[in-house]
Amino acid sequence: MATSDESLAAEVLKGNLDAFEELVKRYQQAIVKIAYRMVGDRDEAEDIAQEVFIKVYNNIHLFDSDKRFAPWLYRIATNTCISRLRRRKKVVLLNFEDGLTRQLEYQNTDYIDPLERLENEELHKLIMQTLLDLPESYRMVIILRYQADLTNQEISESLGITKENVEIRIHRARKMLRTLLISRLGEGRTGNGLQTGK
């Protein structure tokens, strides 16, 4: 049976670099994936992932060995991504929890199916690009849920928010994503009869 992440972390604390290498190997793909989806740039994603692992190594003594390693790692990863984005943008982030979602309420999006209107490759590209336009807190839950394949419970541990909050955030994020997708499709193909009504 493979050694648990937590035992490996304990080994790292004792100075075992092989144990750390094993942790890197286990999680590098997941961390690069999260970083790539958050920032949309391949090089920067690897750069962030490297920064995450260095932070993990530097702070391994702060890891509570009674808890699970993965959420702790993901929390470092999400924080690193977000601080990188803030450094890059240097803008004040708005709290999207309220205003924007309320705006979306009265847009009826149920009748349109953007997924059917695009070829696979084009669709993926559009969806991932649209994802980058979501507010960070929304983007993060979507990425952790669907890209990193975490459960809501794991996301709640990683982000330090309640499970209910995770559910609400995912719901709102997907609603917003759908709205953005439809408006993009509309923008791109006005006049092609794409505008559908009930």
Binding site: V32, A49, Y57, D110, E167
Partner: protein, 333 residues
């Protein structure tokens, strides 16, 4: 169940996280409502698309190696990072130091001339001649040292940065030194079993009474050495020895370059040594019991033939005491 409820539950339903009787009820609604069926179908397919990762870069062994490489570099940069702050402060004080070192140089020339004949000098290191070590000034200082250590000091653990690298070493020696409470300065503490390989080892000839080596780390790649000594009252000091090349030394503007002038050092009082060594008294660190204690860092450069060393001694002892330790550091080669 109505359409509104289905819309609310759609995500949870597609993620299979709602109870079976709720999903049965929902499915019953879907049979009669093509609108909602489409929504559920859409939600499901959207989730699939959101899982798409065909374009995500795949970090291979090259990435792992890069991470591990920066981790091993980290071993080197941790003490270096600490010194940056110190150097910054020193840079601000540069003119003062320049004047100071000029004065010291003159002093050295004056005092050194008769000392050249001293044959017991260890080449290249700060050196306290035996006649001086056992002489009166040192004894007097040790008494004052004792009284200082007896003072209960606020517990302050060595920087957590070091924790990762510390190895539980020399426990037996450690205990015996503690039980004895008076480890002889020159012989009481042996260096810890370091990693194998050839490297220069530095230990202080002077170790205050009651202190024992509790942590040691040697980075054989960079030839860095870190030693932590502690006593039972929570006082500690840490010695970091980093080999530097000469250009680095110049760039860092570390004010002190001691070149085989240990005799002079021992002839000076601590105040003088402090004025020539880089002494940084950090901001006081408050703690819950409202008592405060200072972490002081002494920076000394040791010039030994072609290989200069940057030495930092820091801890919660007085600057005088740390200076004494710093000036007694010598190679065990």
């Amino acid at each position: 169940m109505d359409c509104k409820q289905v819309s609310k539950l759609s995500l949870l339903y597609c993620d299979n996280v709602i109870s079976s009787h709720v999903s049965e009820e929902l499915e019953r609604h879907l049979k009669d409502c093509p609108e909602c069926a489409r929504l559920i179908d859409y939600t499901r397919r959207e989730a699939e698309v959101l899982r798409y990762d065909g374009d995500v870069p795949v970090p291979g062994t090259a990435f792992t190696e890069r991470v591990m490489e920066s981790i091993s570099k980290l071993n080197k940069s941790i003490p270096a990072r600490e010194s940056t702050g110190i150097n910054k402060k020193m840079r601000a004080l540069k003119p003062v130091y320049l004047l100071g070192s000029l004065a010291v140089c003159i002093l050295l020339v004056v005092v050194l001339v008769p000392g050249v004949k001293d044959s017991t000098r260890v080449p290249g290191l700060l050196h306290v001649p035996k006649s001086q070590t056992s002489g009166q000034p040192v004894t007097a200082t040790r008494k004052s040292v004792n009284s200082e250590i007896v003072k209960p000091l606020v517990k302050h653990a060595p920087s957590p940065d070091y924790k990762t690298f510390s190895k539980p070493v020399v426990k037996a020696k450690d205990n015996s030194a503690r039980q004895g409470k008076s480890a002889p300065a020159e012989t009481g503490v042996e260096p810890a079993p370091f990693t194998t390989g050839t490297f220069d080892l530095f230990t202080p000839a002077y170790i205050p009474v009651g202190f024992a080596l509790t942590k040691s780390q040697h980075d054989s790649n960079n030839n860095n050495t870190m030693l932590t000594y502690e006593n039972q009252t929570g006082a500690y000091f840490t010695i970091v020895v980093i080999p530097v090349n000469k250009t680095e030394t110049a760039m860092n503007s570390v004010p002190l370059e001691v070149q085989n002038n240990s005799k002079t050092l021992s002839n000076m009082d601590n105040q003088q040594i402090r004025s020539m060594a880089g002494v940084t008294e950090s901001a006081t660190i408050g703690n819950s019991s409202s008592r405060e204690q200072k972490i002081t860092t002494i920076v000394v450069n040791i010039e030994r033939e072609e290989s200069p060393y940057h030495v930092e001694v820091s801890g919660n002892l007085s600057a005088d005491e740390l200076t004494r330790i710093a000036s007694s550091i010598r190679s065990t080669e």
